[in-house]
Symmetry: C2
Subunit: 188 residues, 2 copies
């Protein structure tokens, strides 16, 4: 066995989420997180850029998943449909971890700093989607508009999914919201 307990990063992330739920984000110090994980404060900052980032470990994988989905959409698919398919497929991922998503989102929604971080992660997803569309030959500003629309749909669908205990199907909400968006933007 190694010199240290394995998976320091994971232990830090678990300890952080637990403490954020127990006492709230602001009332938790990084030193406490590190102590619960059996490490020091300095080591926390070697694994995470700051106290918020510990909650957003999965966002890189999410971005890759979205980009792959757009890239892999049939060539014939319209930009908005490639985006819709990608966002819908993300819905399936979250459905498998609803409880975990609920806990995490409760912490984030309770704190403005964490909301800011969440928003910039969503903006990064939007930028990545727009890039994937451009690589498919979609010009600007259509690429960015389709990407932003997709992220907006996801954001709204996700909020509804989190807020409604009786709704297990995030993908369905995403599909409905896209449909609703088409109706809304069609105008009068």
């Amino acid at each position: 066995m190694g010199r240290w307990e394995p998976n320091a990063r994971g232990r830090l992330a678990d300890a952080a989420l637990d403490l954020y739920i127990e006492r709230g984000y602001e009332q938790t110090t990084v030193a406490e997180i590190a102590r619960r994980a059996g490490l020091t404060e300095r080591t926390f900052f070697r694994h995470f850029a700051d106290k918020r980032e510990v909650l957003f470990g999965g966002s890189d994988a999410l971005r890759e998943h979205l980009v792959d989905a757009v890239t892999g959409a049939p060539e014939s698919a319209a930009p908005i449909d490639a985006i819709a398919a990608a966002v819908e497929s993300v819905g399936v991922l979250f459905q498998e971890r609803r409880e975990s998503a609920l806990r995490r989102q409760a912490v984030i929604a309770a704190n403005a700093e964490l909301l800011e971080r969440e928003l910039i992660k969503l903006a990064a997803l939007s930028a990545a989607l727009a890039g994937a569309l451009r690589r498919r030959g979609v010009p600007e500003p259509a690429a960015s508009l389709a990407a932003e629309a997709g992220i907006a749909v996801f954001k709204i669908s996700f909020e509804r999914w989190i807020g409604d205990p009786g709704e297990p199907d995030l993908s369905r909400l995403v599909r409905e919201s896209f449909h609703e968006l088409k109706a809304v933007t069609a105008g009068a």
Copy 2:
């Protein structure tokens, strides 16, 4: 005359923007800002919640302007058209202060923390727009979708306006982007 120089808040905001431009946001300490304004660090934090907020003083007025525009739109206007008119009218406001907007945006774009703050301000605008639509009888999720779409259009139009020295007309960019959004969401 009063006991102190007038307009402490304005002096602080001016000093902050100047220093952020001169040395960069991170390289500027709050103590330096306060000193340049002839005040103390403690007084800075009595006027602004944190070091970033000093750049976002106008966002309340902007929110009120948008809400008023949506509220004042003709009853017959479709939700997306009420939003479009509101966002377009904001374009006019910015056109009058293009130089100031350019300086401010250069600082914000150079720093991730400031970008986060900007995004949460935009999210607040979106929430306010959605609320104004709901008061007009627009149900959810249509209200939030239209509001998010409007903010997305504004964001993209604003970026293009800032980035293109030869384009003086932000309102026109907004109008074109709305048109483009309709085309994009119409799908294949």
